[in-house]
C-alpha cells in the first residue's frame, strides 16, 4: 500500500509529498454525477456500496494518496434527533433548530452501530477495496461547526443565532457543545474501530470567531475530542478554515496535522505551528482555473515552503469547486508528485 500520506502525518520520511483533495469525491467528476443521477445526496451517503464507489473514484481517476469516506459532516446530527434535508440550491436544512435549553436536553448521543451502520459498513467495504491502494480517512465536523448548523438551522452568513446564544446564554451553548462533543467522540471512535486509518475534524466555521471566542467556545471541545481519540493511535488532522488569526491557538488542540486554508502563507503558518505537528494544505481551489504554468509556480512555492514542516500533505485550502475540470485536478496530483519526488 502507498502509505506516504500516513507517514507524512506522523512526520516520517516520504519519497514525495502526498496529496489528497478536499471534496475529491464530488460533483466536478462526471463519474460521481453518473452515480448521483440514480440517487439523491443523502441516499448516496447511506448506501455503503455506492458511497464506497464514489470514495474510490478519485483514487483511480486522479491518483491521490489517500481516500476520504464519502459522507457529510451533518449525518450524525440526525442521530442526535434532528431532521436533516438537503435542498438542491439552498444546501442543508435542519428543521426545528436548537435555541433553548429544552432543545439541547432533547438531543440524544449517537450510538454508531445502531444509528449509522451505513457509515461503518462503507468503511469496511473501503478498507477491503483499498487494501493495495491508499489509506482511508474518516471525518467529522468540529463541535463548533456542527453547533452553527444546529442553531442556525442550516448555513449562515453571520451566525446571528449562534453568537447570540454564545454571548447571552453561554450555559445553553456550552451544554450543547458538550453533547455535540460526546457524539463526535463516539462517531469518530467508531469510524476508527471500523477501519479508518486517519481522521479529519473539519472546523469549517471556526474562522468566523474572534480568537478570544474561539479559545473559549470552540477550542476546548476540539481538544477534548482529540484527547479521546489519541489512544486509538491513528493520525488526527484538524482542518481550521480561515485560520489566519487562529493558528497558534489551533496548534494547542493536540492534532497530529493542522489543515490550513489558502488565505495564509504556508511558510509563515509553519513558523507559527512549529516542529511538533505536520501541515496540510494549502493551494487556493481557484488555482485550478489557472494556466498550467501559473499553477505550477504556485505548487512549487507551496512545496518549497511546505518542506520546512515536520511533514507536509499537499491539499487545496478548501474543497474543490464543482466547476473544476477533472483534468486539472489530475494534473495537480501529477505535478505535486513530480515536483516533490
Amino acid at each position: 500500500m502507498n502509505d506516504t500520506f500516513l507517514r507524512a502525518c506522523r512526520g516520517e520520511d516520504v519519497e514525495y509529498t502526498p496529496i489528497w483533495i478536499m471534496r475529491q469525491a464530488g460533483r466536478y467528476l462526471p463519474d460521481y454525477q453518473e452515480v448521483r443521477r440514480k440517487v439523491d445526496f443523502l441516499t448516496l451517503c447511506k448506501t455503503p456500496e455506492l458511497a464506497a464507489e464514489v470514495t474510490i473514484q478519485p483514487v483511480d481517476i486522479l491518483g491521490v494518496d489517500a481516500a476520504i469516506l464519502f459522507s457529510d459532516i451533518l449525518i450524525p446530527l440526525e442521530s442526535m434527533g434532528m431532521k436533516l434535508r438537503f435542498l438542491e440550491k439552498k444546501g442543508p436544512v435542519l428543521s426545528r433548530p436548537v435555541r433553548k435549553m429544552k432543545d439541547v436536553e432533547a438531543l440524544r448521543t449517537i450510538k454508531p452501530k445502531k444509528d449509522v451502520p451505513f457509515v461503518l459498513d462503507t468503511i469496511k467495504i473501503l478498507r477491503r477495496k483499498l487494501r493495495k491502494k491508499v489509506p482511508l480517512i474518516g471525518f467529522a465536523g468540529a463541535p463548533f461547526t456542527l453547533a452553527t448548523y444546529m442553531i442556525e438551522g442550516g448555513s449562515s452568513k453571520n451566525f446571528l443565532h449562534t453568537k447570540t446564544m454564545m454571548f447571552s446564554a453561554p450555559e445553553v451553548f456550552h451544554s450543547l457543545m458538550e453533547r455535540i462533543t460526546e457524539t463526535t467522540m463516539e462517531y469518530l471512535s467508531a469510524q476508527i474501530r471500523a477501519g479508518a486509518q486517519a481522521v479529519q475534524i473539519f472546523d469549517s466555521w471556526a474562522g468566523a470567531l474572534a480568537p478570544d471566542d474561539y479559545r473559549e467556545h470552540s477550542l476546548p471541545y476540539v481538544k477534548k475530542t482529540i484527547e479521546a481519540l489519541k489512544p486509538l493511535g491513528v493520525p488526527i488532522i484538524y482542518f481550521v478554515n480561515n485560520c489566519g488569526g487562529l493558528l497558534e491557538l489551533a496548534r494547542t488542540a493536540g492534532a497530529d496535522v493542522i489543515g490550513i486554508d489558502w488565505r495564509v502563507d504556508i511558510g509563515k503558518a509553519i513558523t507559527k505551528l512549529g516542529k511538533g505537528v505536520s501541515v496540510q494544505g494549502n493551494l487556493d481551489p481557484l488555482a485550478l482555473f489557472a494556466d498550467e504554468r501559473v499553477l505550477e509556480s504556485k505548487v512549487k512555492e507551496i512545496l518549497k515552503k511546505g518542506s520546512r514542516a515536520r511533514g507536509h500533505i499537499f491539499n487545496l485550502g478548501h474543497g474543490i469547486i464543482p466547476q473544476t475540470s477533472p483534468d486539472m485536478a489530475k494534473k495537480l496530483v501529477q505535478m505535486v508528485h513530480e515536483l516533490s519526488g
Copy 2:
C-alpha cells in the same frame, strides 16, 4: 468640533478613544428605514439632502466621533459605463460583467463633477451641517474589491471569474485594475476636494486572496491610489477585511490607518503593524447581541490592546448588521467613551 477621530488617525493624543461604526447609517436604524420608505437605495445615494440626512442620523442618535458619507462602493462603476441595480434580496447586480479585453477597453474613467455631482454635493451639505460636530469620512472600494463585482457581475462566493481572469488572462486583469485605480484616485480626490476630512478604502474581498496573489494583484493598486491621495493631506484608512494572513503586506500600502476585522487579535495585529500606523477596529459585529456584561469585557479587552497602537479608532470589525438594536449600538459608543476616557 470633536476632532478625536482625526487626531487618532494621525497618532496624536486624544482624551478618549474615538469610535465610529461601519454601516452606522443603515437599516438597523428606524430613522433610516423611515427615509428608505420614501426612496429606493440608489435614489437615496443620489439625492444629496436625503443622503446627508441619513449620514447625520448616527451622529445624533449614537454619538459617534465621525460621520461617513452615505453611499455605496459601486456608485463609481456606473460612471465607468456599467449598469448597476440593487435587488432587494440578491444585492447588487452589474449587467454585462467585464470578462474580455474589449470589455475593459469600453470602460471610461470617472469625471466626478460631471458623473457624480450628487456625491460632491452631499459632502458639501454635510460639511456645513457637521461643522460643530464631527469630521466627515469619504470612501471608495479598493480596486480589487471593485474588480470582483465588475467581473462577477455582483457578489460572489468563490470568485470563479475573477480568479480565472487573474490566473489565466493576467494582462486583461491588470488592464482592468489600472482603469479602476484611475477612477478610484479621481473619485477619492474629488471627495477630498469637496470636503471629506479623511477617506476609507474598503478592501472587503482582499481576504479571499492568498497572500502571494494579494501582493501581486491587489496591493500595488492600493499603493498607487494612496500615493496619489497623500499630497491632499487627509488621513487615509485602509480597511482590509479578513486580514489575518495579509497584515504585514497591507501595512506596506502606505495608509495612515489600517482597519482590521474581528477575526484577528488586535494586540497581535498591532505588533505586526508596528508604530508607524494607527489601527481601527475590531469588535465582532455580533458582540452587539451579547449581554451588556459580556460586551463590556470585550470592549475593555480591545481598548486595552488598542492602547498599544500609535493611535486607535474603535470600530466594529465589519458592518453593523441590520438586526442590531440601536440601543446596543448607542451603549457601545458610551462604553468606549467611558472606559477609555
